[in-house]
Every structure is written in structure tokens, then in C-alpha cells.
Symmetry: none
Amino acid sequence: MLPMGQPKFKRRKADRPDEIVAAALEVFAEKGFAAARLEDIAARAGVSKGAIYLYFATKQDIFRAVVEQGIAPNLDMVRASLAAPTGNFADLLRGLVKTLSSVVAATSVGGIVKMVIGESRNFPELAQAWHDKLVHPALDAMTGAIAAAQVRGELRPGDPRLHAISLISPMLVGVIWRETFTPVGADPIDIPALAQQHVDLWLRGVLIEAGAAS
Amino acid sequence: MLPMGQPKFKRRKADRPDEIVAAALEVFAEKGFAAARLEDIAARAGVSKGAIYLYFATKQDIFRAVVEQGIAPNLDMVRASLAAPTGNFADLLRGLVKTLSSVVAATSVGGIVKMVIGESRNFPELAQAWHDKLVHPALDAMTGAIAAAQVRGELRPGDPRLHAISLISPMLVGVIWRETFTPVGADPIDIPALAQQHVDLWLRGVLIEAGAAS
Amino acid sequence: MLPMGQPKFKRRKADRPDEIVAAALEVFAEKGFAAARLEDIAARAGVSKGAIYLYFATKQDIFRAVVEQGIAPNLDMVRASLAAPTGNFADLLRGLVKTLSSVVAATSVGGIVKMVIGESRNFPELAQAWHDKLVHPALDAMTGAIAAAQVRGELRPGDPRLHAISLISPMLVGVIWRETFTPVGADPIDIPALAQQHVDLWLRGVLIEAGAAS
Amino acid sequence: MLPMGQPKFKRRKADRPDEIVAAALEVFAEKGFAAARLEDIAARAGVSKGAIYLYFATKQDIFRAVVEQGIAPNLDMVRASLAAPTGNFADLLRGLVKTLSSVVAATSVGGIVKMVIGESRNFPELAQAWHDKLVHPALDAMTGAIAAAQVRGELRPGDPRLHAISLISPMLVGVIWRETFTPVGADPIDIPALAQQHVDLWLRGVLIEAGAAS
DNA sequence: TATGAATGAGTTTTCATTCAT
DNA sequence: CATGAATGAAAACTCATTCAT
């Protein structure tokens, strides 16, 4: 029996749950919920199978933690963008999209999005949480901003919610493409470039109208 | 009313595979591959578990059949749209999108798309087949049409592949939304309306420019 | 509907059971009872799976028929050998062994023996039938002949049953070797040569005794 | 009585595989490979079905382990016998046979031999391993010893390999008899007695020749 | 707390047997 | 009689979860 207790470099137990969730995210994103094996998650988190049950009661709980943990940071980002000073719409949008596309490129939202989509029928509560807490507020905010800009005469008329959807769709598709087709040899999509070109086009129109060149 | 009543016979070898694939599509789309139970597929197809193995060697084979069977009809649709008379780009596009959005609204592509995305890591061959046989050709054709229209001076410059992605993204997102969020109480997205407004906007631009006709 | 009945070359239905038994013998000998598939037997017999059930109620019944059908012809052979005129023992034995080893070389007893050995615990009735109807009578007859020859002073003393076993063992081992090791590349055993040399040796002794050369 | 009572603990990773192999040997020897149920093996080993899969990947692997584990100890025995001091052939042989027949009487080779014979077509690799590692070396050694004794003038001429086969056959048949016919009521064969009488006879000859010493 | 051997319920897969044609 | 599609009971195998250490 060692006289002086544990080695000081031992990982703090307080970090364990996060490490497990991080490992679980990888495995779930790769295999989906049902095909993911607790043993793989444990191995990737560097703990034993049994240790996982010290922090989570069931496999479903881990999954829930993973998906819910993906909400908060993105929610913050959305809130931050909404809190921007109300300049003109074009500038607002360009700023937002820049932030968004860098977040999307840098984080693992991709995997979580895949999971939310793929397991929406098996975990409706999670799809709902994602919708209610993240997707709907974000979409709502953007819809509101568009409507306001329309009222101000900055934007043409048109259903503002559909406009909002049009705006973010390519980025979402870019993420899905990266998760789905790039790994099997498809040409990658340059998400920031796509986002920028899309927004430019969206803002300026693509048809060259006689006498109305930009 | 049929003169002699429907045959209630069990022997229908020729029809079985399609019935099984149809049932499997429903179950796989709902649960994903791993969580789908052969027993459920069998029950929904109205056959016994054993009968499935008269037509498919493994569960994976059923899955493959489902996903591959989703390629051909859509491929035909793409081909048909490409064979359209070469009018001006706007008309071509409006026609294509109309077809596309009605197909998307009427068929079960939604479920298959979900499966392809969700199981892309577990069945890379299928993701690849979908990409190589359907997604890439379709995207390529659209990219070509856009590039041609740019050359003709109908469209502004810009990366034509990214343009093509921008164009179809909202429809894809609409389908995913329908599969993911509508079932948990989210406001549905009117896909045809979205598609039309998106195309209009894409073609005409959304910013009201001084001196530009509507 | 054909006016004149069946084509005359159609196989007589009376032959069917035998054909099935013959096919079953092959498959059972190769795979053993449990691993043999009815479908394989049917295919090898050139009939449908269903047809088998017109002649046999269960798979076990086919197996019983196969094993029992292996008894009768061999039993006849034993009887014939026993009915031989009581010459001196050596001649009797040489005749018997010649017959025996040619039978063994020409027929499929090998496979049946394998089956009887391998399935003796699963079908004790069959092991018993083989013992009671074939093995025991044959062994008994030979034991009797040896005992008689001992009484006549032709043979040295010794347990006659053990002597009988000694005598036939090499032939049995030869058959088992042929079924077991020859197919995996072992040098084959020349059963007739083995039988003859064994009997010669058995009759004459192998030690060269001083002053007693044959 | 053990001082502290037997540990009734479940955790015995090191012992499990052997316990499972021992249990499997019994079940396989009784039922054959295909008819043996994992559940029976597990029950006889005192573990759950699942525990077996902690040590063996498939049912076939267990079978292989059982059969291969039967090779080594017998191989040792053969080697030991061969290492005997080169006395005259008769003594060598009597020693060998004594060892052999006691081993055969005391161990479970019988069951394994049955399995090797019965499953030779389903597991050719195992039949081959038994032949190459055990049967062939043993037979070869004996063949060599016989040939040498012939050269020394101790033994009469004759194919030494067939001689070797003649010599061991009765013991093999004795084992098979014990496994096959004794359980269904046949008179048992006294294997050591059979072996001794066989060797005596083999060495001395059975025909009483005029003028020959006993 | 932490481990990982052990459990057993649940799933895929096989195949003897049935039965509609 | 004959067929072979269909059935469903049985068996191999997996893996989330428990628990002795």
C-alpha cells in the first residue's frame, strides 16, 4: 500500500464525465447510437466500462448528454450574433455568416447534427430539444431580422422564414456533405467560400438585369 | 370491386422482394440500420422472419437493396430534366425545381437520404454509390448548365459548382426538416413554396437596388 | 393436360426411397447427421424437399433407413462366409479376409461406419442395431471358429474373442483411415495388402525363432 | 478439509478456458460438433453462455481448442516412448503398448478420436493437424523401429508400415468400441488384455508349428 | 472509486417441416 | 404425387449492465 496516496498527475475525476462525453461524441457520430459500443466509448475515453456507470446510468443518458452538450455553445454563438448592433442588414448578415461558417468548420457540430438527424425518431426529445432550444430560436431571430429589414425597405418582400431557411441551408448542406460524401472520395465543399458566395448572390441577385449592373 | 375477390394466397415469389424492401425502407428510415429489427420488417411486410431469408442473405443486404433501389428512379428524374430543351436558364431552372420539389414531396427519398447520411460511416459503399451514381451526376449537370449560362452572359460570374449547391440546398434542408423536426412538433416547411421563393430570389436578387426593375 | 399420361422415361416412383437413401448416405457420411441439410439430400437425390416427406416422416427416419440399410447386405456376406465348408482354419480365414477386404474396398461401409461411430450417442438404437444384428453375430461366429480351432489343436490358446478382434481390427482401421486421413493428404493404406500381411503374420508369427523358420 | 474453504468467487479468468474446453470435450464427444449446444457446454462448465465468448470467438474455435488440446499430451507420450533405451524390439514393444493402453484407458482420447473421425470432413484442418502432428509421427517412429529390427534380423520381412498399423489397430478399435458399443449394452472390451494378447500373438505367431518351441 | 469478468435478454440466422398450389 | 415458398422454433452470438473484488 502506497504511503502517500495517488500520483499527482492522475486525471482529476471531475473531468471524467466530459472526457466520456467527448469520446462518446466521436463514437456516436461514427456509428450511430445503436451500433456504438460502450466498450469503444470507454476505451476512447481511457476508462473502464464500469467507470462509465459511475457517471451515467444508461447508454441513452450518455447520448442525451452528448446531444444536449452540443446545444449550449452554439446557443451562445447565436445569442452573441443577435446582440450585434443593428447596422444595415447586409453587414449584419455578412458578419453572422462569417462567424457561423468558421464555427461550423472548426467544431464537431457536424457529427452532432448527423446524430440528431439520424436518431430523431429514436430520441424525439432530443430532436425537440435541439429544435426548441437552438434551431427555432436561431431561425426565429433571423426571420425577425429579415422581416424588420423588409419593413425598413431594405429587402424585397417574401416570406421571411423561408428567406431565413434559404440563407442557412447551404451551410448545413456543406456540413452534411463533409460528414457524408467527403469521406468516400467526393470533392470537398469549401464551406466558407460557399457561404460567402451564397450570401453575396442572395444579397445582390444572380440575374444580370439590363441597366442594373451592381 | 374485383370480380373474383383478391387472391389471398401466400405464394407470391415475384412480389415479395419489393414488399420486403418497401417495409424495410419504412423501418430503417425510422430506426436506422442497427436499431431496426428484422422481426419488425417482416411484420410490416406481412411475412415471417424466415421468409426474408429466401430473398436476402443478411440484414445488410436488405439495407443495401433499400438504398440502391432509391437511386435508380431519382437518377431517371435527373436525366429527364437534363434532356429538357435548351431554353433560357431561368425557365430551365424553374422547370427543374418544380419537378424536383414535387418528387421530393411525394416520395420517400427523405427517409433514404436520412439513412445515407446516418449510416455513411457504417456503409461507405452506399454513400459512395449514392454520390457517384446520383448526387455527383446531378450536381455536375447543374454545374455545367450554370457554367454554360455564364458563358452565354445570362448569369453573373462565380464558382458554378458552389452556385449549384446553393440552388439545391434549401430543398435538401426542407426534406431533412420534414424527417427530423416536423415529427417533434416543429412548424413544417412548405417545400414547394420554399423552392420557388428561393429560386426567384436566387434569380433576381434580394436587395432592392435603386433604379432596378422588380 | 397431356392425353396419354406420363413420359415413359420418368423415374419409377418405386425407386424414389432408395435414391433418397443413397443420396442421404453421401450427405450424412460427409457432414454427420446434424450438419446434413435436407435440401442437400433432396438436391443430390434429384427430388424436391417436399418429396422426401412423401417417403419419410422425419430427418431421423431417413438416417435410420440409411444406417439400417447398411446392415442387411453385410449381414448376408457374414452369413455366406460362415456357411463355408469347415476346412482348416487358415484357409477359412484367408478366404474370409479376402472377401471382407474386397467388400470394404468396394462399398460405402466406410461412410456408414463413420456415421454409426459418430452418432452412437445421438442414436443409440442404431448403434445397438448395428451391434446386435451385424457386429455381434459376426464377431461371435469368428470367436466360435477360433475356439473350435483351438480345441482342434490348430491354434494356440488365448481368449478367442480378443483374438477375433485382433484379426479384424486392421481392416476397420484401414476403412477409418481412408475416410479420415486420406482426404487430408495422408498416405493411403492399401487395405487388401494390409489384410493379407496381417493375417499371414497373425497365422505364422513374426518373431524369427531359432530353428523354427517357416 | 481445506483450512479456509474453497473460494466461491466468480472471477477466475485464468482457469476458465480450460474449464470450458473440458466441458466442451464432454459435450462434443457426446453429440458431435453440430448437435452440441453452446448452452450445454456453458452449463457443464458452470458459466453463462456469454462467458464463453470472453475466451472463444466462435463455437468452431472451441472445437478447435478441444481437438488441438488433445494432441500435445499424447505427442509427449509418443516422444517419451521413442526415447526409450534401444533394447531388443520385443521389450521395447511391450513397454510401449503397456503405456499406450493405460493412457488410452485412463484419458479421454476416445472422445477426441471419435470427434476427429466424425468431423474430418467438416474440419479437415483438424484431421490434418491430428495426422501431421500426432498420428503420422507416431506411426513413422514405429515403422522405423520395425524396419530397424528387421535389419537386425529380429523380425521377419514384410512392409514395416503395415506391420505398424497391424500393431496398433486393436487398441484403436478397443477405444472406438468403448465409445460406440459399450454404452448400448455390448460386452466391453478389456483393452489392456486385448493389447497384451495381441502383442504376444503378434510377436510369437499363433499357428502351432510342428517342432517349434512355445 | 475503479475494474473488467460475468450475466442474460435480445437479435440475427438456419433449417426441418408444412401446405397451398 | 410433386413442388418449393413459407413458417417458426431453436441456436449462435452480442453487448448493456451488474457486481465481486
